[in-house]
């Protein structure tokens, strides 16, 4: 066990513990705060993998923007601890909990098996230079920002365009839904 391992366990406990506390805390504000702790913990795990760009995006997008809006809404609506009580009966909650547990264990088992089959010196990621589109430019896969950008603009161009279009559609939808028509009677 060296210092990096210790840091890994620290942040792993932080992210998993934060997630569990989020689920179990009664007050919505506490739940939101624990979720931020969990997100920052995951970002720290990215840092340990020397993937600074992903870590920063994790903090910037999720902890810095999405969760602020969550907290904002929770505070504006002033929801108290009683708001967390769902309408589901204990029986239904139990079934859903069981399903989720089975799913989680399944994922963990599958991941564990595939991890074992990897040779230690073999990287999970293919080198970008070996891929079809990246062949002209020999830019190896790295944690550098430029390699992310290069990959997104060459190999993953279609996914990025599609997700951009979906976001645009969502934005237009929100504008239409939230736009107040001056008088509904006129429309009829």
């Amino acid at each position: 066990m060296n210092a990096v391992d210790l840091l890994f366990w620290l942040f792993a406990v932080l992210s998993v513990g934060g997630g569990l506390s989020m689920v179990f805390s009664r007050h919505p504000v506490s739940a939101a705060m624990f979720m931020i702790v969990s997100l920052v913990g995951v970002a720290a795990l990215f840092v340990l993998l020397e993937s600074f760009f992903l870590a920063i995006l994790q903090v910037l997008v999720y902890a810095g923007a999405v969760m602020v809006l969550f907290l904002f809404i929770i505070m504006l609506l002033d929801v108290g601890p009683e708001a967390g009580k769902g309408k589901l009966s204990h029986f239904k909650t139990g079934i859903f909990g069981l399903l989720a547990t089975v799913l989680l264990v399944g994922i963990l088992l599958t991941l564990g098996n595939s991890y074992d089959s990897l040779a230690l010196d073999q990287s999970i990621w293919p080198e970008l230079s070996e891929s079809k589109d990246g062949a002209s430019h020999s830019l190896p896969f790295s944690t550098k920002v430029s390699s992310f950008g290069y990959g997104l603009m060459t190999k993953y161009m279609l996914p990025i365009q599609v997700s951009g279009f979906m976001l645009l559609a969502a934005m237009v939808g929100v504008i239409i839904l939230s736009k107040k028509t001056p008088d509904r009677e006129d429309l009829k």
């Binding site: 600074f52 995006l57 903090v59 910037l60 810095g64 920002v145």
Partner: protein, 378 residues
């Protein structure tokens, strides 16, 4: 079992921790003296004298030097700090205690964390190599600053909410809305800058702060190349640091004290210091990106020699620019009246954001044309 930590690493970690403390000390000192500068500058602008009584007992009797320091109020920050520390600590009965205590800490920590990636000079080594002076010169420096400073809003939002008072709550809500709105314009205003610096064919790539400062060495400063980006960034910086004319969260005429209405003694002091630390760091980042960092005037090569004297002069020059910007912050505060809240939102969403987008598209086209011409000439 692996070794806990290699022998040489211990020394390196201790050194880093030492450097970190020095950096915190420097920024906090500057934050403290910014408070003094604020009081002095506002006094001069209003024809008053400002703090000129505080002095340490034994310093007063040093001839010439002592009275001068007293007149300049150089010991006022010390007295202010002690005052915050020794005031009676009052916690209102209606607050949510845990978040009430947590909020000032959450406000201060991001302000102090952003300084880790801040480059402030260059070190010329004896063997001719040059390295950047920074705690951690990350390749994604500017994104790190954005990410960490966006966490600062939690301190203000939680302070407003946990105080359980209408004034604080309104202050917290206003602040969150304002910071989210202006982050967009701020990020968009920097895109053309990095597009320009990392244009195809240039040696730079990535989002490093030191690379952007060095790209201005001996050439045009970036605020000359991209005046609109600089203006949008500066306005957004004022909004993000909650400074007048954007101090909606604590506008004392309509919200008493805004998010820190219910805070007193040292807890208020922490909010206060965090605000000035934000100003210091914000000024430093504006200097690095738009004002050439530690490099001399635009179009003039650094006149100082490439040795340790040059390194010191570079850092000093960087500090001088930063201090000028801090003065600019204070200058604006005591000159402009405060906006109304709807005006702030209007300016952010329907003026600055479209302007930043147009700016980005124009520079996209310019960079493309330059790139195409360069490719045609090959």
């Amino acid at each position: 079992m692996m070794e806990w930590m290699p022998q040489g690493l211990w020394f390196e970690v201790c050194l880093k921790v030492f450097f970190a403390f020095m950096m915190v000390g420097a920024v906090m000192t500057m934050a403290g003296y910014s408070v003094l500068a604020e009081r002095k500058v506002s006094a001069w602008m209003q024809g008053r004298v400002g703090p000129n009584r505080t002095v340490l007992p034994f310093v007063e009797y040093i001839p010439i030097f002592g009275p001068l320091l007293k007149k300049l109020g150089m010991f006022q920050p010390l007295a202010d700090g002690l005052k915050f520390l020794f005031k009676e600590e009052i916690v209102p009965g209606h607050v949510n205690k845990f978040y009430y205590y947590l909020a000032p800490l959450i406000a201060l920590v991001p302000a102090l964390t952003t300084m880790t990636v801040l480059p402030f000079g260059q070190m010329y080594w004896n063997d001719g190599t040059v390295s950047t002076l920074a705690l951690a010169d990350l390749e994604v420096g500017i994104l790190f600053v954005f990410a960490v400073s966006s966490l600062g809003v939690y301190g203000i939002a939680l302070a407003g909410w946990s105080s359980n008072s209408k004034y604080s709550f309104l202050g917290g809500i206003r602040s969150s809305a304002q910071m989210i709105s202006y982050e967009l314009a701020m990020g968009l205003s920097l895109l053309p800058v990095f597009l320009w610096v990392c244009a195809p064919g240039s040696s730079e790539s990535g989002l490093s702060l030191s690379a952007i400062a060095n790209s201005q060495s001996g050439g045009a400063w970036l605020f000359l190349v991209q005046p609109l980006s600089a203006l949008i960034f500066l306005i957004a910086l004022f909004a993000e640091t909650n400074r007048l004319p954007f101090d909606m969260p604590e506008s004392e005429t309509d919200l008493v004290g805004g998010f820190h209405t219910e805070y007193g003694s040292f807890k208020f002091g922490i909010f206060f210091v965090a605000e000035y630390a934000h100003i210091v760091i914000g000024s430093a980042i504006f200097t690095v990106i738009f004002l050439g960092g530690w490099h001399f005037l635009p179009f003039i090569e650094d006149p100082w020699p490439a040795n340790w004297i040059g390194s010191l002069l570079g850092v000093g020059w960087f500090l001088a620019k930063t201090i000028f910007l801090i003065f600019f912050f204070i200058w604006v505060r005591w000159t402009l009246p405060r906006f109304r809240y709807d005006q702030v939102m209007h300016l952010g969403w329907s003026k600055l954001l479209p302007l930043a987008l147009v700016n980005l598209i124009v520079y996209l086209l310019i960079v493309t044309v330059i790139d195409q011409n360069a490719a045609a000439n090959l």
